[in-house]
Symmetry: C2
Subunit: 204 residues, 2 copies
DNA sequence: AATAATACTATTCAAATGAATAGTATCACC
DNA sequence: GGTGATACTATTCATTTGAATAGTATTATT
């Protein structure tokens, strides 16, 4: 990324500000008007320069298609549905507008944006030994291959519970990470709903 | 939010898909073409219905200004700069495109998007007692009022260190949350760079 | 001193796009 | 049996918008 001139930086900032305030990118004419250019060509030149420097991309002949590439990268953020508890099966993706969601940057977390990613809010301190606290949001992926030591959400008594997946003498089993509950549950006949890939904690 | 008809849901999904794939919202004509409508009016009607049901907003006479309100809410995501360590003072916000960033959903975390929000990647296990592990990203806010018990980033020996802020006999001091390092440092003359507001942990 | 990049004015054209009007057909609902 | 919502066809108009051409002045850079 080459350095920008101060004017080019101003244009870049205006594009960013417009996107933030208006929700859409500015048109060339709007850029020209904002800076008081009496000719659109000035705006065209600046945008062309920004494109040449790899700062923005746009699609020819499409209105308001300017995008900042730095921001483009961050737009790997995905809304992850937050479930209190997952009943059997997965709710289908329809009509979930009202659902609580958590925005997670997939690239930043080294995740592929999968439709099978979801979040659970932790209840209870059964995973305190893995430094997972009540209230934490655990982000899980459904269908990922489970390896021993992974934290998984399993369906026990029709409720999702977090456990560590282990191999005990070759047999898969689940363990709660709290010495007060030293349960060791055989993993057979249990539904593994997801493997933990990340965690988000709010403070206060 | 009223329920959508199946056709309206399809239109909503198309808008969402176009935004994801093309980076811009579709025009009314593009909606019509996608569904094979021979008249634009059909697309206009559907978008008007979606607007009436609060699913979508758009700005009159502005091309490609359609926005899904559910997604509009998630766009409170903010790129938070990740510092390994913060030297004295704050780097100014310019020309930081190459910087490592973490996308965080401010609304979902109950935060106001402040320019003074940043992240630190934790090194060492000095905060293990607060269930903060090495490798975790701690999100902090600069200038927030510190309360006893808060985790703060403080500048010690020209390097940012996480400590718990406490009052010891009325005197402010900092404590490492690891029994192996039972340091208690008077907080006077120390620069508190930020107060922890959230934590993000990647697994594996 | 020559050259290229930057930063603009001024004007025109054509395509893209939103908006409007006048209808038709279907279906649920009261 | 009427009413309203839904889901469209067909056509036209006015704006918005990107793109192009022909220049000028200033500021680096070589």
């Amino acid at each position: 990324m080459k350095t920008l001139t101060s004017r080019q930086q101003e244009v870049r900032d205006f594009i960013q500000a417009t996107q933030a305030e208006q929700g859409v990118s500015p048109t060339l004419r709007e850029i020209a008007r904002h800076f008081g250019f009496r000719s659109m060509k000035a705006a065209v030149d600046h945008v062309r320069a920004l494109r040449g420097k790899g700062v923005v991309v746009w699609q020819p002949r499409r209105a308001r298609s300017l995008r900042l590439v730095a921001l483009g990268r961050r737009r790997t953020t995905v809304e992850v549905p937050v479930y209190g508890a997952i009943p059997a099966g997965f709710p289908d993706g329809r009509q979930q507008e009202n659902q609580e969601c958590l925005a997670v940057d997939m690239a930043g977390l080294g995740l592929r944006p999968t439709a099978r990613t979801f979040a659970l809010q932790v209840r209870g301190d059964s995973m305190i030994g893995k430094h997972i606290l009540p209230g934490d949001y655990v982000i899980l992926e459904h269908g990922k291959t489970v390896r021993p030591g992974d934290v998984v959400a399993a369906l026990i008594d029709n409720e999702s519970t977090l456990k560590t997946f282990l191999l005990d003498k070759g047999k898969p089993c689940l363990r709660a990470e709290n010495p007060r509950y030293p349960q060791l549950i055989p993993a057979r006949e249990l539904v593994i709903q997801g493997v933990m890939v990340a965690l988000v904690r709010k403070c206060q």
